[in-house]
């Protein structure tokens, strides 16, 4: 069943964990293009968090930025700075900066971080939260890539990004169906 994501105002900010997963999938540009939304990442996440410097650091994402598929954004207003400081008291700086911008600007946030998700759900009303698998599934439902390409993308996420969705993730069955040999269960 195809269920496309509707992003509030057409904007979504990617947290570091999602950027890593999408980048390692080797289908990041296809996935971002399929979203038909303004996709951003905070300057802090882009510069500090996503990829180790010895592996090229943020420069690996430069083609996406140059092509306009990904935009690097910074905390701008005083409200955003205050939100960041408040969030940073309970999260680390990457998650806090992404959350501050999502909440302040009314954007969706893409994150797989359990703590960030739980905190936002419990403390901020109305923020739309999506995960890596939501974005990948959106690409699959919208673009209908070959099954082999989907399998490869998911395997890359599992093997290279070392991400396995929690057994309670709403798309865990979808993940298992589309990945070659079924996923190892995440410890629960």
């Amino acid at each position: 069943m195809a269920a496309e994501i509707v992003f509030p105002h057409g904007y979504v900010i990617l947290d570091a964990c999602c950027v890593i997963n999408l980048h390692e999938s080797e289908k990041m540009s296809d996935i971002l293009a399929s979203l038909q939304a303004f996709v951003a990442v905070t300057d802090y996440v882009y510069q500090e968090e996503i990829l180790p410097p010895e592996e090229g650091g943020a420069s690996k994402l430069l083609p996406l930025v140059e092509s306009g598929l990904l935009t690097v954004t910074v905390l701008e207003s005083e409200d955003e700075m205050i939100a960041f400081v408040n969030f940073a008291a309970v999260m680390d700086d990457g998650e806090a900066s992404s959350s501050a911008i999502a909440v302040s600007r009314g954007w969706a946030i893409a994150t797989d971080d359990q703590k960030a998700i739980r905190f936002l759900e419990q403390n901020v009303s109305g923020v739309k939260i999506v995960t890596t698998l939501d974005l990948v599934k959106h690409w699959v439902d919208r673009e209908h890539p070959p099954a082999e390409a989907v399998r490869m993308a998911l395997e890359n996420i599992r093997n290279r990004a070392r991400y396995i969705p929690h057994a309670r993730h709403p798309l865990f069955r979808w993940w298992n169906t589309h990945i070659s040999d079924g996923a190892d269960a995440h410890p629960s």
């Binding site: 996503i50 180790p52 999260m91 990457g94 739980r118 991400y163």
Partner: protein, 318 residues
Amino acid sequence: MRFLHFLPPGDEDAVLIAEYINRFEALCQDYLELEQIAESPLTYKYPPEYKVGALPLALTAEIIAQEERNRLGLGDGPIPPLRELLEQDVGLRIFYLEMKPSDNISAMFTYDPKLGGCIAVNTLHSEERKRLALAHEYAHFLIQREKAELLTPDKYQRKPESERFAAFFALYFLMPSVGLTRRYNDIIQTHGKFTVADLSTLAHYCGVSVDTLARRLEEQKLLPAGMWERLQESGARAQNDQPLVELLPISDLADILPRRYQYLVVDLYDQGKITEGGLARFLRVDRLKARQIASARRAEASYIMENAPLDLAHSVAK
């Protein structure tokens, strides 16, 4: 900072050492923070501080080393992975840090009522030297735990009593006289002689370098005084305190962070109590590497769970 008295002002190395001290203290604080989040404090099994001074220092060190061996149930055999022993059976916090230049610093020890005893060992050193440094710092913990200590080679023109005690203790703790003598005799009884290869094998068995063992045997009068120096002059050289023959590495954890620390971090992350940014920050690596470490620790934990008896209490009762 409790180490400041070690650092001469204006010394270039002092700047580096100060950085290592800061890193060490940050790790200790992070360990405590993790325990507080997890509500899982470290169990301390600390003996009361031992008194030194009534007897000759070497004899005191040997008696205390034997008492500690008895307390820890070690008998007079070789010590299993020393880091694990001191972490799990004593409750010390032990980190392995890369400290350059490696000639300048072997280990650090500090104690705080909240943190307990904390040791940092230079991971650039050989396994044997790390064990010796660990035992040396443990000695300071046993007799003067309130006093921070920085182990640097030839730091003193005349070593203070606490340093001499720690040096003796480390040797007796790793190579107890009775056990050492018995093993030496076993070799003599079996082979009729004690060769350089035997020396090397015995050193590996004890988890010490060859020259450390040779000097200990000389002190025990099982080898003639000066034998090691003569052997070196004749070409039987142990380079950089390594064994003379290539042996399998001693099983010891080379991770910078204590294994319990790593399990705490991964468990807290899996429970959603810290973010992935926190996972990476606590593990001192980038996010991708942090995920790799988390996978490895989960795999170990699931292996243990899969192989554990279903009813642990019942299996113990049997």
